[in-house]
């Protein structure tokens, strides 16, 4: 049983990690495409329209890969997590169906119109289709986050005698206090990714002295969006999320902050340190006293319960992974603010386009927002363990009882092989698009 659970979780972790490479870019990019299109409508400067069309091509490739890699996710609810689907289908079925029917259809239909219909529709309607693509992709995020928010902080349901969850109050699903901060944090993080991708392509063009006009536009837009979104990811959205974890999942909060023992007065914030699970302490730690209490409750001396206050079986089952995921996310977020702040300073001084080390740094930073986004999700998902529905349904009770670990391992290997092919195809397509660069439209 433990083997089964391990392989089912491993397969889900692998497929969702690979899948989330794509939507995190499309959600952020859709906002930036709308911005370019809006700029074009206002100024009638052709380069903004060409930039929107260029990034819509990258959007379309990502969107398609997101669809392909999303299909196994949908299947896995039935194959690997049949008990979870059976017990909670009355709740998560609502939000997931709404995601498919409202957001995905909206996004895909208007994406096709945006790509093919510019000449037929005229510029104002073309802008509107771009806006509806943005709306569809963000609504998609909203419904997925509503599902996850219910799993993190279950509300608006009733549990029947047979253990099935049924919806008791529909509006509570969408007014869940977990949902709005999680959604805003997630969306801002996806804007960070797309801003870094845009800035990185811009830096690449400038360094290669190719499509330089677009290079400067992409770099400037990427840096401005990157700094604003990096700041918003940290405050207020990240701060709001952390407060929610402290309020609704205090054991998880202690684990992700690495608080093994409850301190008498204020809790310190750990900057660096390695969890030592045998001695129940942090090794080589660098910490600042009382800061965590202040950040969480705005009180310097407020006590924060450590892991010693909770039963072991109520705490996340992989504390080091949770701790490192959280700290990698926070550390990278801080680096993003620093780099984008520096880039904006030199942009203001009109020197950015000539500082090659900074351009190289921005270009090579592009994988890191992806890592930050994914470790952020690991923090949320590892933190919810050992539950699928926090406090109510254990992960071990949601797994399919008849699927063997061998079967899961075999298909996992299959996914690894197929996703490698898909990954290569994705890189080839995106590489070709970037290499070709924005092409002027024929009007």
């Amino acid at each position: 049983m433990e083997d089964m659970l391990f392989y089912d979780r491993l397969q889900f972790a692998f497929t969702i990690t690979f899948h989330y490479i794509f939507p995190q870019l499309t959600m952020g990019l859709s906002l930036m495409i709308v911005y370019f299109k809006w700029k074009y409508l206002r100024t009638q400067i052709e380069k903004y329209n060409n930039a929107a069309t260029f990034f819509m091509k990258i959007f379309a490739i990502n969107f398609t890969m997101g669809v392909v890699t999303g299909i196994p996710m949908e299947f896995q609810f039935g194959t690997n997590w049949a008990k979870f689907s059976e017990l909670t289908g009355g709740i998560i079925g609502q939000t997931l169906a709404m995601e498919g029917l409202f957001s995905f259809f909206l996004e895909s239909s208007f994406l096709a119109l945006f790509i093919f219909g510019e000449k037929l529709m005229g510029q104002k309607l073309h802008f509107l289709t771009g806006f509806l693509v943005f709306l569809g992709s963000w609504a998609s995020g909203w419904f997925i986050l509503a599902t996850n928010a219910w799993m993190q902080n279950p509300v608006g349901h009733e549990i029947l005698e047979n253990g099935k969850f049924v919806l008791d109050n529909f509006s509570e699903l969408f007014t869940n206090p977990w949902l709005l901060p999680a959604f805003l944090h997630n969306q801002m993080a996806s804007v960070v990714t797309s801003a870094f991708v845009m800035a990185s392509i811009g830096a690449f063009y400038i360094l290669r002295d190719k499509h330089s006009e677009y290079g400067r536009l992409f770099l400037k837009t990427g840096v401005v969006f990157g700094l604003i979104s990096s700041l918003l990811v940290a405050f207020p959205t990240g701060d709001w999320n952390a407060k929610n974890v402290a309020k609704y999942q205090p054991g998880t909060f202690a684990a992700m902050e690495g608080i093994f023992e409850t301190e008498e007065a204020g809790a310190e914030i750990v900057l660096i340190g390695q969890p030592n699970m045998i001695e129940k302490k942090l090794d080589n730690k660098i910490a600042v006293p009382n800061i965590l209490s202040f950040l969480t409750y705005q009180e310097w001396d407020r006590q924060i319960p450590g892991m010693d206050q909770f039963e072991t079986e109520e705490l996340p089952d992989n504390i080091p992974a949770l701790y490192y995921s959280y700290h990698i996310m926070v550390g990278l977020g801080t680096i993003f603010i620093g780099v984008m702040g520096l880039a904006l300073f030199f942009l203001w001084r009109n020197k950015l386009y000539n500082i090659k080390p900074l351009l190289w740094t921005i270009m090579f930073l592009v994988p890191f927002p992806y890592i930050a986004n994914i470790t952020g999700w690991y923090t949320a998902e590892l933190g919810r363990q050992p539950y699928l529905v926090y406090g109510l349904l254990r992960t071990s009770d949601g797994v399919s009882p008849t699927v063997s670990s061998g079967n899961t391992l075999f298909t996992l290997l299959g996914f690894v092989g197929l996703y490698m092919l898909l990954g290569l195809l994705f890189l080839t397509l995106v590489g070709k698009t970037i290499n070709q660069g924005p092409t002027p439209q024929k009007h």
Binding site: V67, P72, T79, K432
Partner: protein, 102 residues
């Protein structure tokens, strides 16, 4: 479980068939990027719409009894989806960008 893998393989077949068709019949081609995107959606559309006739991944795996014939039909329909997708999208594209309509 293996059914999920089959669904991914059939999408890949859709991608390959759309690209091959685009190579052979240039008038329908959208280039590597476009053909790939159309291949994905063409194959998914056809398999999702008609797979229930007996060749979707769950019928192929039929409680662990792997059915080769159904797999071949699935892959064939998937390939057809890629090709038909390319033809239809090209037609729509031409209609939408028809200069005489403006």
């Amino acid at each position: 479980m293996t059914g999920t893998l089959i669904s991914l393989i059939s999408i890949l077949i859709g991608i390959v068939s759309a690209n091959l068709f685009g190579k052979c019949y240039k008038q329908f081609s959208f280039g590597l990027k476009g053909n790939t995107l159309v291949g994905v959606f063409g194959s998914v559309l056809l398999i999702k719409s008609f797979g229930r006739l007996g060749f979707d991944p769950w019928f192929i795996m039929n409680n662990g009894d792997f059915d080769r014939l159904r797999l071949i039909i699935n892959l064939f329909v998937s390939a057809l989806g890629g090709v038909l997708g390319l033809v239809f999208v090209k037609l729509i594209y031409k209609k939408m960008n028809d200069e005489s309509r403006k």
